[in-house]
């Protein structure tokens, strides 16, 4: 007599302990995927979504953040750095650093410094800060998508 064919349902772990172990393994894998996606999103806008296979969304998000950075820099806006005695600049720096690699590219190789006398200084600052904050939201979104909390 031949062995009965096992359907996928019958090969699933049946005991509660085996089910819990399988769920924990799945959670751990999703957690690692989400963490890696979030880390990639911190490095460069859209990279986290690209890693998760959301190519169109990754391209759109990268384009939006980079356009905001370019417009902000063209308008000579302020790229925040910490100033002693001005606690709010620490928060603004964290927000601006959210754009990832572009922040450090502007600051170090390009030696970018905004021009406070420029006509578009305030607008440029708003664009640069918004670019960083938008990418911070992308990091959270990449985390949610990677862990399966979101589509």
């Amino acid at each position: 007599m031949s062995a009965p064919v096992r359907s996928p349902e019958t090969t699933r772990p049946e005991t509660p302990a085996a089910k819990a172990a399988a769920a924990a393994a799945l959670d751990a894998a999703a957690g690692r995927r989400g963490a890696l996606a979030a880390m990639l999103a911190v490095v460069f806008p859209g990279l986290g979504h690209l890693y998760l296979g959301r190519k169109a969304r990754a391209a759109l998000f990268a384009a939006i953040v980079l356009v905001a950075v370019v417009i902000g820099a063209k308008l000579d806006g302020n790229l925040y750095t910490p100033l002693q005695g001005h606690p709010l600049t620490y928060l603004a720096t964290l927000g601006s650093m959210g754009m990832g690699l572009p922040y450090f590219l502007l600051l170090y190789p390009l030696h970018y410094a905004g021009d406070v006398t420029a006509q578009g200084y305030d607008y440029g600052t708003a664009f640069l800060l918004s670019a960083g904050l938008m990418n911070l939201l992308l990091v959270l979104d990449a985390w949610d998508v990677g862990t399966g909390r979101k589509e």
């Binding site: 759109l60 998000f61 939006i64 905001a68 308008l75 406070v116 607008y123 938008m134 992308l138």
Partner: protein
């Protein structure tokens, strides 16, 4: 660049961003985009209109 054009570009970028981030369905994305875009540009114009009677005063000193 004019102030109005910059405001429109800023509103456009943010509206597209949040529509793509917060909605997955195409129709819902378009609706949210329009709500955000019209809200930001219309709100900006409304605030500008409300401030119109107030004198702007001398320009602030450059720090």
């Amino acid at each position: 660049m004019s102030h109005f054009l910059l405001m429109v570009v800023y509103a456009l970028l943010l509206s597209v961003f949040f529509a793509a981030l917060w909605r997955r369905n195409r129709r819902e994305q378009v609706v949210l985009f329009l709500q955000l875009f019209v809200g930001m540009v219309g709100g900006g114009l409304l605030v500008a209109w409300l401030m119109y009677p107030f004198p702007s005063g001398p320009p602030a000193p450059i720090p």
